[in-house]
Each structure stands twice: as structure tokens, then as C-alpha cells.
Amino acid sequence: MTAVYIHADNIVSPLGFTADENFRQLVRSVSGIKQRPGGTISPEPFQASLFDDIPQAGEQYTRFENLLIASIGDALRESRVSPADPRTALILSTTKGNISLLETEPFSSSLADRVSLHTSARLVAEHFGFVNKPVIVSNACISGILALLTGMRLIQSGQYDHAVVAGADVITRFVLSGFQSFQAVSSSVCKPFDAARDGINLGEGAATIILTSDKQYASGIRLGGGATSNDANHISGPSRTGEELNLGIGRSLREAGLSAGEIDFISAHGTATLYNDEMEAKAINLAGLQTVPVNSLKGYYGHTLGAAGLIESVITLRSMKENTIIPTLGFSTMGVTQPVNVCSSLLQQDIRHSLKTASGFGGCNAAMVFSKE
């Protein structure tokens, strides 16, 4: 099967506007999560990782589109892949896109059109001169990983040689009120896998990964394999057994031609809800990965929804290049029933193969393996 390589990447987050800046901040244990005063987003004060300012590409673009443009623009700057090449795909990932427009404007058919994800996708594609119609993935919290997987598959099937995969979400009253209504938001900085964990923080951000089948453009890491699965159990609660995430992990490893013993590092979803982290710990055990160092980056970025899988994948790529595993900010006391090796201090070790996982509403799970050449 065609090998699919990482070519270039970016993260635009409250911690910085490039992947390097972001990684350096994490190495220094800097979190983007801060206490925010009550106001338009929430009547009560809340903890979240939000932008104070974002780069503006033009007045016609919304906050969401500006984030995508900033992230894709930076990734393309360091890239030799051209959007104008008919062999280049654009794949976008988001959960809520421009939903904030519902908060400030009366509903009409023209507003519906402006909110629609295909409108944002067209504007972003036109901004950079992509010639192919963008592919839009909106699959809850696995969107970022699924977008990457979609890019890999479109390249492997021979339809494209390159894929620019980007994801973004912004935090507005719509999203925060929803998670608050589920009693899912922590009043402090979240504590993934910890005994005292009590919910998520939300975060804003965007990330881009450019994939290519052209070995000349390869940066030393490739996508080994990936998969999604469904719990077929509950629309808003994760599996009680972790079997289905384990199915996805197993298929990803098989596609990558690896055994569990060859995985050096796991970048987990680790949202810091009671049920997610417990389910992930069970899946990691079922997969035979319980001794592998695992982290969650939610204590730095919060849950960035449709961007999460991509932001965390870019950090995973940096971790592999630097052979440095970022500690799980907020974790101190083991709080899941199955043993997992939660990384709680900066760890230097050789990383040849990594696993990234994600799970979301609708019972969806995703896994992706990254391998050094």
C-alpha cells in the first residue's frame, strides 16, 4: 500500500501560532486554561483556553474561518505542496464551525447558508486557491483523527498525492452551555485520569497536517494505520467495556504491521470526565498497552473539539522528533480502575511508534498510528 508521510504541520492556539511555539510551551508546562469572567459566553465565570486575539485574514471571514486560514497558511508556508495542484486535497474538520452566528443574528435562510460548513470550506479553499472541492468531516470529537484518516485513505486510493488536513473550533455560548447542561465542565483546571477529576475544560484552537505520498517531501514520520469504530451502546455515554475503542486500536496496529509491544507512546483523548478516562483505561488494557507511557493534553488546551485530534497529533509528531513525552498536566493520583502508565513528568525516551486515540458523542472512537521511517 502507498506510504503516506507527514510533510508539514501547524498549531494555532492560545499558547502560540506555530507548532514549535506550542511544543515549547508544553515543555515548560504552560497551560492555556484560565479563569474567565462571566459575560456573553457564560453568565458564570468559567475555566477555558481561549484566544485573546486571533490573526485576521479579512473582514469577510468569521473567527472560525480566520483560525483555519491562520493554521493552513502557516503549514503551507513551510511546505512545497501547492493548493493549486489538482493532486492536492483539502480536508477540514470541525464540530460546530460558525454556530456562534445563531447567537447574534435572527435565523433566516441566508444565515443558514452562512452557518453551513460548506460555505466556510469554500471560502477557505478560495483563499488559498485550492482547485479541488474541500472534504468536510464533522464527526463529534473524533473529527480531527477521522480527517487525518480520510486524507490517508484518499491518498492511498490514488485519488490524490497530497492532502492538507486542517481542523478548528471556537468556544461560544452555544457550546459551553451545552457541556454545562451535561454537568460535564470542571470548575477548575481539568485532571485527566486523576482520582479527583470532575469534568472537562473547553478550548479554542486550530491545527493542520499536510500529508503526502511523495517521499521527497517526507519529514521522517508516516501514518502507519488508522481506524474508527462505534460503541453501538449509547449516544452520549462511552462504552462500559472499552471493547470498541480497542477494536479501533487493534485494526490500526494491524494496518501498521505492528504488535502492541512496539508502541512507545500513547496520546490519549483523556477528557477528564469520569466515564471517558475509565473507558480509555479499559481499552488500553484490552489492547495490551497498559505499560506504555500515556498522556492527555487536555490540561494545556482544554477540549478543542474538532481541532483536538489534530492538535494532539501535531504534538505527538513533535514528541517523536524530540523523543520527549509531555506530562499530563493536572494528573497526580491514579483515578481509573485499570492500570495505565500515565506520564506525569517530562520523559525523554526513544519513540519510534505512537498511538493517538479519540472518542466522542454518538459512540464514535478513532485511533491512528504514527511511525518513524
Partner: protein, 208 residues
């Protein structure tokens, strides 16, 4: 890409009529979508209380899948992880997004918030039938048969899936359309080749 797979059955719900394999099997009097969906549910005698908790997108997709899989489909042929769903639409979950946001001004409704993601309909169908394979929800301005053919063929070609429910489920206000297709490797009675052309014909309710 040439395809050696088959569309075993299709279900289209459009303009108050439900079609199975291109033939009308139900025609509703009720014009608002929720009423139409409930009368179709009763007409077919389904017993699934979760149906009434679903949003319009969930009900539309669930009903289309139920009719799609009625008669002929034997899920025991496959392991749960061998059956997946690849769905798409134009308006994501915007129909429910507007309803949810109405509640935010008063007391935000968790029961509505969970439906503010388009892939929840995939979850509902997966729960009903126990499908645990690959799932993906894509958004496009109109039904992109070429993309669906390409993506699903890749999954079946590589034995990631043995059977796939794919297609379109879209709702915004009084505009709606569902067109679901069951794709399998084996040719069955009434099946047609899995090609973008056949998907488009079945979607548009044209013969051939």
C-alpha cells in the same frame, strides 16, 4: 475506480413519500416532518421507544435505515465490526442547533444538546442494529455520489468493512431528504452495481 460491489437495497424519503428500491412503500398525508415520520413509524408497526426521543435528523435516518434493512438483510452474515456507516448531508445538525439554542435563553436542554452533532444519527442506527464498524459523517453542499463511491469502495476493498450503509440524511426546517444505500460484496436479488451513476439515479428516483 471500478467497483465490484453491489447496492443490495435503497431507501429514499422525499416529499412525503418513502421509496424502497425505487418503489413507493408509504405515502404520508401529514406535511410537517415530525408528524410524517411518526405516522410512517406507526404504519410499519415498529416498536422502538428510543425513536420518540430522537431529533428529526435521527428519526429520519433511523426510519430510512429500518426500511433499507427490512427484507433480505441478514446481519448474522457479518460480525458487528464488519458493518459500518458513511453518511453525509448539507446542513449538519443545524435543524436541532436552532432548537437547542432556543432553550439556552431559558434552561439549556441536555436532551437537545446531544443531537447538535450530525453523527448522532450514525450512533442511533448503530445502537439499533449493533453495527460497530467504521463510521464517518461528511458535509457537502449536495449529494456527492462520486465521493461516497470512492470512500466506501476503499473501505470494502481493504476488508475494513464487509457491508456499509451509506448515503445522505439532511433536515432543515420543512426541507428534508434521506437516501440510504446498503452496499455488500455479494450480488443479491434486485441489487445493482455500486457506482456513482447508480447512486445518483436511486437518489433522484430515476429508473436505471
Amino acid at each position: 475506480m471500478s467497483s465490484a460491489y453491489y447496492i443490495s437495497s435503497s431507501c429514499v424519503i422525499s416529499d412525503r413519500v418513502i421509496y424502497r428500491n425505487g418503489l413507493p412503500v408509504f405515502s404520508g398525508e401529514e406535511s410537517p416532518l415530525p408528524d410524517l415520520l411518526i405516522s410512517a413509524y406507526r404504519h410499519f408497526g415498529y416498536q422502538y421507544l428510543k425513536f420518540f426521543k430522537m431529533d428529526n435528523l435521527g428519526k429520519l435516518g433511523w426510519l430510512a435505515a429500518e426500511i433499507l434493512l427490512s427484507g433480505g438483510f441478514d446481519k448474522n452474515r457479518y460480525r458487528p465490526e464488519e458493518v459500518g456507516l458513511v453518511l453525509s448531508n448539507a446542513h449538519a445538525s443545524l435543524d436541532t442547533d436552532t432548537r437547542y439554542y432556543e432553550t439556552v435563553k431559558d434552561i439549556p436542554s441536555p436532551a437537545l444538546f446531544v443531537y447538535t452533532l450530525p453523527n448522532i444519527v450514525i450512533g442511533e442506527i448503530s445502537i439499533r442494529h449493533g453495527f460497530k464498524g467504521e463510521n464517518a459523517f461528511f458535509v457537502s453542499e449536495s449529494f456527492d455520489a462520486g465521493f461516497i463511491e470512492h470512500y466506501v469502495t476503499r473501505l470494502v476493498n481493504n476488508d475494513i468493512l464487509q457491508a456499509c450503509i451509506c448515503g445522505w440524511v439532511d433536515v432543515l426546517g420543512d426541507r428534508y431528504k434521506a437516501a440510504l444505500f446498503l452496499v455488500e460484496k455479494e450480488k443479491r436479488e434486485n441489487s445493482v452495481t455500486f457506482t456513482a451513476k447508480n447512486l445518483n439515479n436511486l437518489y433522484a428516483l430515476q429508473n436505471g
